[in-house]
Symmetry: C2
Subunit: 347 residues, 2 copies
């Protein structure tokens, strides 16, 4: 089959790789219908996260089950399924707690020896626990397929950030980061009943989407000017719940400074310097909590799925560029240059 590989920073290729096959009785093989490129893939693309030359990549995908191992009972050939961005065994202590990202036998698509999502097919370990079945008729609905694909990562991650930040009915929320995760954070906060949602961002296409997703205010300033603008919107106090969806020192510093005393930051931006942006003295004096991390989206898919299916939430507009498998390298370039928000891949 053909799949995307990364050979060096900025060197993405689409090439022939071995066909996936059942290796363990709990495996399934899935034909990818839709995949996409994640903002976090850009850390590898830019060389800021190390990869072995030729390693697979892509951790967001949905598709049709092609083959199952002997012990797979909940899923069969022909099922339409979505995969979370990590696989998990479903039975360890952490999976029992819903923290599937800490699964004792879990792993990340594209890590050494495993398939990535940006390819024609994927071998899925622990298929019963990892995959979630979708209604078969969704396969013929392009918009719905795109919306469902976001459950593999960005929608669940935005939801995790909102939960971590303590979003609830009547809260004021601020969202740092106008990428797909930040925008899904807006959507998640709206779904959870936030009264006011302040989106920080300077790219109008993105902030327009934030408004469409439920943001009530947009702050286009950056740094201290952004902090002042958020305070002005919040009686000088800041937001109860702040979503940090970038992961840099500056984004975390902004997040700390715009959180209301007693509030919380839900952080889901993969840390790339953001630890330095934490002023623990400020957080101590103001009782600001920090919660989040890698999102256990497998646990969230069943919670969010009904709302995606009935249209209560529609994250599909985060995709603004569609490419075939051969177009994946162009897709990375477009996201790296921020000419695309999020790239859909139709292998």
């Amino acid at each position: 089959m053909r799949a995307t590989t990364i050979h060096a920073p900025f060197d993405m290729r689409v090439e022939e790789v071995p066909d996936p096959r059942i290796q363990r009785p709990t495996d399934a093989v899935l034909r990818v219908l839709r995949a996409c490129v994640c903002g976090s893939d850009l850390w590898a693309y830019r060389g800021e996260s190390a990869r072995e030359p030729g390693q697979r990549i892509g951790h967001e995908f949905l598709g049709v089950v092609e083959e199952t191992g002997d012990e797979v009972v909940g899923i069969e050939r022909g099922d339409l399924v979505v995969a979370p961005f990590m696989w998990s065994d479903g039975v360890c202590d952490y999976c029992a707690d819903g923290l599937t990202t800490s699964c004792e036998h879990g792993g990340f698509w594209g890590s050494g020896g495993s398939d990535g999502g940006q390819g024609e097919a994927v071998r899925v370990p622990f298929a019963d626990a990892t995959l979630v079945k979708l209604p078969a008729d969704a396969a013929s609905d392009d918009r719905l397929l795109s919306a469902l694909l976001t459950l593999s990562d960005v929608m669940g991650t935005g939801h995790h950030a909102a939960i971590g930040a303590g979003v609830g009915k009547g809260t004021t929320v601020a969202v740092v980061g106008d990428g797909a995760v930040g925008l899904c954070g807006v959507l998640a906060a709206h779904r959870l009943g936030a009264e006011r949602i302040i989106a920080l961002g300077r790219h109008q296409a993105r902030t327009d989407l934030a408004l469409r997703f439920g943001a009530t205010d947009v702050v286009a300033e950056r740094g201290e000017a952004a902090e002042a603008a958020v305070r002005e919107l919040t009686k000088g106090q800041g937001a109860h719940a702040v979503i940090e969806a970038v992961g840099t020192e500056q984004s975390m510093r902004t997040a700390v400074n715009i959180t209301r005393d007693g509030g919380a930051i839900g952080f889901v931006g993969v840390p790339h310097g953001s630890g330095t942006g934490i002023d623990l003295g400020v957080m101590f004096n103001r009782n600001i909590a920090l919660r989040g991390g890698v999102a256990p989206v497998r646990t969230y898919i069943p919670q969010l799925l009904p709302d995606v299916l009935d249209g209560t939430i529609d994250p599909s507009p985060v995709f603004d560029l569609t490419v075939g498998l051969d177009g994946v390298p162009d897709g990375y370039r477009a996201m790296d240059e921020r000419t695309a928000l999020k790239v859909l891949v139709t292998p």
Copy 2:
């Protein structure tokens, strides 16, 4: 009157200062019956927190109301009352939320121009909101008075740490710090239904007290050996809830490394380098939350008071040395040299 003042690092004096008097109609003047020395006072004592020469000190006290301003309605001359370690107005947005430490008109005893608790009397701003009435007959019960005094800080702070760490029924808790706050954290965790409480500490008098307060295990090792010991006690996973009651880089690093994936650190040690002990990458990968800060003990006093009055919890054993007002400098020395755990002052 006579009160404790700090003139330079290690230079504590007890000297004549102006008698406190009602300055605003919401003030009260309180005659101090019991005060004490806090571990956090040692930061000033050692010169690690700056103080003006001659500044008052002491933020934990209870006593009898001597005089009230015209607008004070809930408290009258002769009432036995306990003060939390900060005053608060009781009406601002933060006080309404219970976050009295962020009160818009709040302040800290001993800060410039205010009285400190380690003296004969104190002017109390916003007396109705700040002070909490105690049963009059407690004044004749030495043990109970000591137990009630801990509500001014250490017991409420230990409770705040336990709440921040997410202690609940059946949880496994680890406590970093064997000072009075850490020990009160053990007591708070026990009160909140923790199943297992691991106290980290090397001083047997303190760990014995931890066991008396409800600890089920003691880890005497430090650093990586302590982390390994906690993991051994917890199926290799760490504790659901970790109380960080020190505030140094090492204590925070230990706290992060002994927290179970998906767990939380309740941090109440005043940060003195602890920010550097936070590895955000680890916290991200393992979904470890950080919650805490300066404890809104005013909110906790009414919650904890019934349990202290009926003996459900008895934090009084944290005091292991009693001095008169003239003995306060000796008390600081004893705590600095760790020959005393916590010093009670009877002015």
